[in-house]
Amino acid sequence: MAVYARTYRSYAGPFVSERARLFVLTRYGLADLFRSKAFLALFVLCFVPTVVAMVRIYLAHNAEFLDMFNVPSQAVEQLLAISGSFFRGWVLVPAAVAAFWIALFGGASLVSPDFRNNAMPLYLARPLSRSEYLAGKLLALLIPMCAVTLAPALLLFGLQCLFAGAAWIGDYAWVGASLVVAILAWNLVIALFSLALAAWVKWRPVARLLMIALPLLASAFGHAANGIFGTTWGLVLSFWSILGAIWESLLRLPENTATLSAGTAWVMLTLVGLASLGLFYRRIKAYEVER
């Protein structure tokens, strides 16, 4: 009989290329996210507005069958006409909300466990740079975020193009590009925001709470400042105002409320993104120096 001794065996097999390293983090991150039933439910729920929007687009173009029910199809079509405000209200708003909630849950899940029990030295003791860690985790969060925002947007836009015909496409093809820009910008910034919070606050529930509380508080503060000082500059502290201004500009909608200028809004959004990026990056270190 042969007896096999189990001793330490060094590794003599192949190694994966350096580039692919950060995708390992993405892969594990995605697997961990979708293992949670709550997250999966949230993910699926985010598609509901899309389905409703699809029905609405269909009705806007093909309401004839409603005549069967003695509903004036012409009136319905008028009502449901697809315009810029449709895309804002039925695509961008749900997308922004969906992205926010996915980032809220996902950011904390992806990153807090690594910081809570001092796993960073284990990562950084390997051939992995801080940027690669950041990129891997960001990608893991962006993928589900884009799946519930970008994909439905493109789908809805495509549907509208299908029904509206070549003439409409000629005039409004830019809407598609605007949607993509708006969604990606928000996704990126809010993903970074969530990751930064999760990196600085090690406990998931607290990180999530802060992600809701901070924007609300900032917004309330901004509105209060407006009231006290009689300006509108306080609106820079409100995510909603920033988004509103950006959407208005991208979708060339008429300005109907006294809001920020698009330029200011973009600057604010960029600042939040850069600040989050910087804060997250600073948190990725391998040791705590004891003074």
């Binding site: 189990r6 065996r9 060094s10 029990n117 051939p127 391998a286």
Partner: protein, 311 residues
């Protein structure tokens, strides 16, 4: 191991200076280290952890360089870290996933392909003795198990140099014995060098063949334990029982040795070069006295350390 790499020293410190702000932690370290297992010793604040962190690329040196198997830890950090395995002193793990998944992730982060990483993760768990617990989440492990899991993630990718920071910290005696056994096995396998930073001189004495002692950010001494042990062979500690100890000591002195009675039963003996230990037994046989204990000085490391601190 490539033949060229085999000739390179494990670690080269070339005038290494590391500062935190204005404080100098490591000052002009010069050494070429190539033992199988190297002990890193020094009082608190001497810079041991900083040295380990510098080798891992966590700090950039202010001046000078450090090289691991020829790779500069600053300019070729990635190549260097590919060859390293690190076991930090503090608790380090990822909660919420099983032990196997944790170590598999670490293996993949070191560059192993997915299936190989899974195989090695299982293997590592069995090797350290955590086979039964590998599917449990790491946060459910006891302290000793977490230490072993930390060790498993350090070896899973088959590194050529293991950096262990206080590996036996807080372990109860059987767990400590197991950990030291694992370290010795890795050392003896020939495929990895080990650096152990520890306050427990006995652990270092048991596992290491060389020691590097730091004091106030400088190298106080770097020496080979084997060589020291060999020179201590003529300094004996003898414990007798049964008959007159003094008579025994007198007879031994007649051989030309120096004898000194110590405590109730012990005799310190320094044998001249030409006298063998055999002679002591001959005297004992004559006098019908038992030699219950006979051994040469085994506290070489303690002496080396104290000498280094006083220098």
């Amino acid at each position: 191991m490539q033949p060229e790499e085999a000739k390179k020293p494990v670690i080269e410190l070339d005038g290494l200076t590391v500062q935190f702000g204005s404080r100098t932690i490591l000052s002009d370290l010069k050494a070429s280290v190539s033992g199988r297992a190297i002990g890193l010793l020094g009082p608190n604040g001497a810079g041991k952890t900083t040295l380990l962190h510098t080798l891992l690329g966590f700090h950039e040196p202010k001046r000078g360089a450090a090289r691991i198997f020829g790779h500069d830890v600053t300019t070729e950090g990635r190549e260097a870290r590919r060859l390293l395995g690190y076991m930090p002193e503090r608790d380090a793990f990822i909660a919420g996933i099983s032990g196997v998944r944790f170590v598999r992730l670490m293996a993949e982060m070191s560059g192993l392909p997915s299936e190989e990483a899974l195989e090695r993760a299982h293997e590592a768990f069995f090797y350290v003795g955590l086979g039964e617990a590998r599917y449990r989440n790491v946060e459910t492990y006891s302290y000793g198990m977490k230490q072993l899991a930390k060790f498993a993630q350090a070896i899973v990718h088959g590194p050529r140099l293991l950096l262990l920071d206080e590996p036996t910290n807080g372990l109860d005696p059987p767990a400590r014995a197991r950990m030291l056994r694992l370290i010795r096995q890795v050392r003896d396998s020939g495929s990895a060098h080990v650096i152990i930073s520890s306050h427990l001189l006995k652990d270092v004495e048991d596992c290491c063949d060389e020691v590097l002692v730091l004091k106030e950010g400088r190298i106080a001494t770097y020496c080979n334990l084997e060589a020291e042990r060999r020179t201590n062979r003529k300094f004996l500690l003898v414990e007798t029982r049964g008959a007159d100890r003094a008579a025994f000591a007198q007879a031994v002195e007649k051989l030309g040795a120096e004898c000194a009675l110590a405590g109730e039963r012990r005799i310190k003996v320094v044998l001249p070069a030409e006298v063998e230990v055999q002679s002591l037994f001959e005297i004992a046989a004559e006098q019908e006295i038992q030699i219950r204990r006979l051994d040469y000085k085994r506290d070489s490391l303690q002496e080396i350390f104290l000498r280094a601190m006083e220098a």
